[in-house]
């Protein structure tokens, strides 16, 4: 289109590039982090995603979007991919895709669900399951920028074994200053945990989030039902819906 570029638009993401897998590590029993080397990567803002394209020998293609987990750093990006049962793309990326293999990617994409380190507003991150990925990019970018913007993260997972980035989050909460991390377990809690397993509710968001008067920017990411619940709670607690940004994972990702 002929329209001039404006800040926040990302025209440069339009072309496909061939990236190479340089490292792969297990995150949980069902998720893997892929470290990709991307020639001439233009950088990204935390919260953005890339499109990944796979091509079969007969020319068939499958494309999916994955959130970027890493803060911007040179020509490398990290994607943390959750296995979707019966999926077409995620089982390939987790089981078959190997160090040294090429893959086509396009991006970064997205100019709404992003955190910019120059924004001084406090931040509330609320993640359900694999919805932690773009929020982790924000936590990492905050550290990379040396930002002191106060962050609170509420992370809902089924069991302690399902938590992504658990060691790193513990370390960041200890070392970064101004980052609070709290967990909600929906099926099984760690030993000695003070509350029973439950789905996230008003009390969790109220106790571990920010009061609405502080006008935080809220990022909520996870499965549809989770995001609907949390976004409704935030609005009920008085948060301006324009400061509640959501990203939903349908059951058909994959």
């Amino acid at each position: 289109m002929a329209r001039a570029a404006v800040p926040g638009r990302l025209n440069r993401g339009a072309s496909w590039r061939v990236a190479q897998l340089v490292e792969s590590r297990e995150e949980t029993g069902t998720a893997r982090t892929l470290v990709l080397e991307v020639p001439d990567w233009p950088g990204h803002t935390p919260g953005q995603h890339v499109d990944v394209r796979l091509t079969a020998p007969d020319g068939y293609r499958a494309e999916r979007s994955y959130s970027i987990a890493s803060a911007a750093a040179g020509n490398r990006i990290e994607l943390t991919v959750q296995r979707v049962p019966d999926g077409e793309v995620s089982p390939y990326l987790i089981d078959v895709f190997s160090v040294g293999d090429p893959v086509e990617i396009r991006g970064p994409v997205g100019g709404w669900f992003v955190w910019r380190s120059a924004d001084p507003a406090p931040v509330l991150l609320v993640a359900g399951g694999s919805g932690i990925v773009p929020l982790m990019a924000m936590v990492r970018a905050r550290r990379a920028a040396g930002s002191r913007v106060p962050f609170r993260l509420i992370y809902s997972v089924r069991t302690p074994r399902d938590a992504y980035f658990a060691d790193e989050l513990r370390q960041r909460a200890r070392d970064d200053g101004g980052l609070d991390v709290s967990y909600v377990y929906t099926r099984e809690t760690p030993d000695g945990w003070p509350s029973a397993a439950h789905r996230i509710g008003v009390a969790d968001v109220n106790s571990h989030g920010w009061p609405a008067e502080l006008e935080p920017t809220c990022f909520v990411c996870g499965p549809t039902g989770f995001v609907e619940t949390v976004a409704d709670i935030l609005v009920a607690l008085g948060h301006d819906s324009r400061r509640v940004k959501t990203e939903r994972f349908g059951p058909t990702g994959g």
């Binding site: 289109m1 990302l10 091509t55 020998p57 058909t252």
Partner: protein
């Protein structure tokens, strides 16, 4: 162009119907929105068409329901790559709503409860291509899918089918809406794969 992905076969696909490029089929109905789901009461609901001259045409919920309703069955295509075939809707054709509206506008900016906007050429709303729908698969349209009423413009990517729609502003010049300002394509033809600016 493109490189072959070592070891990738893809799904068996002999029975796959024809889909726009880059799309895959889904049976369920994913929800995608930028923020919390607005809750709009039918008592307060209205649909307003505003012309470039400032003339307003308003319909209350009961006035909208009293118009001739149609029941389109259409395929829908989301820019996030899912496509859903043969979806059934009920609502009022935009041809009906715009029949008495005098305008020289070429563009429409659609406004939603909650502040969302999206732009499209006015001609894409006419000639049986677009509806204001309030039922999905025989039941009232759920709020997370845009209820009480949303736009349905199935020949464009589904973000153009604005949820929680409250009105259409007719304009002589084009103006990008919410996702278009955030990097998505101005037009959004799934068959030409117009996902992002520059496609």
């Amino acid at each position: 162009m493109g490189i072959v992905s070592p070891g990738f076969q893809g799904r068996p696909r002999s029975s796959q119907p024809s889909l726009p490029p880059g799309q895959y089929l889904t049976e369920d109905f994913p929800v995608l929105s930028a923020g919390p789901t607005p809750r709009v009461s039918l008592d307060n609901w209205e649909f307003v068409v505003t012309t470039e001259a400032g003339a307003e045409h308003r319909w209350s919920w009961s006035e909208m329901l009293a118009l001739p309703n149609e029941t389109p069955t259409v395929d829908i295509h989301c820019v996030t790559r899912w496509s859903k075939l043969q979806t059934n809707w009920k609502g009022v054709s935009l041809d009906t709503l715009l029949a008495e509206v005098e305008t020289a506008a070429d563009y429409a900016l659609v406004h939603s409860y909650g502040g969302y906007t999206t732009n499209l050429p006015l001609e894409d709303l006419l000639d049986g291509q677009a509806w204001l729908v309030h039922q999905y698969e025989g039941g009232e349209l759920p709020a997370e899918h845009g209820g009480p009423a949303r736009l349905l413009v199935p020949h464009l990517y589904f973000w153009k089918s604005a949820k929680w729609v409250r009105g259409i502003q007719l304009m002589l010049t084009d103006e990008p809406g919410f996702w278009e300002t955030a990097g998505y394509h101005d037009y959004g033809d799934p068959w030409r794969e117009q996902r992002y600016q520059g496609d």
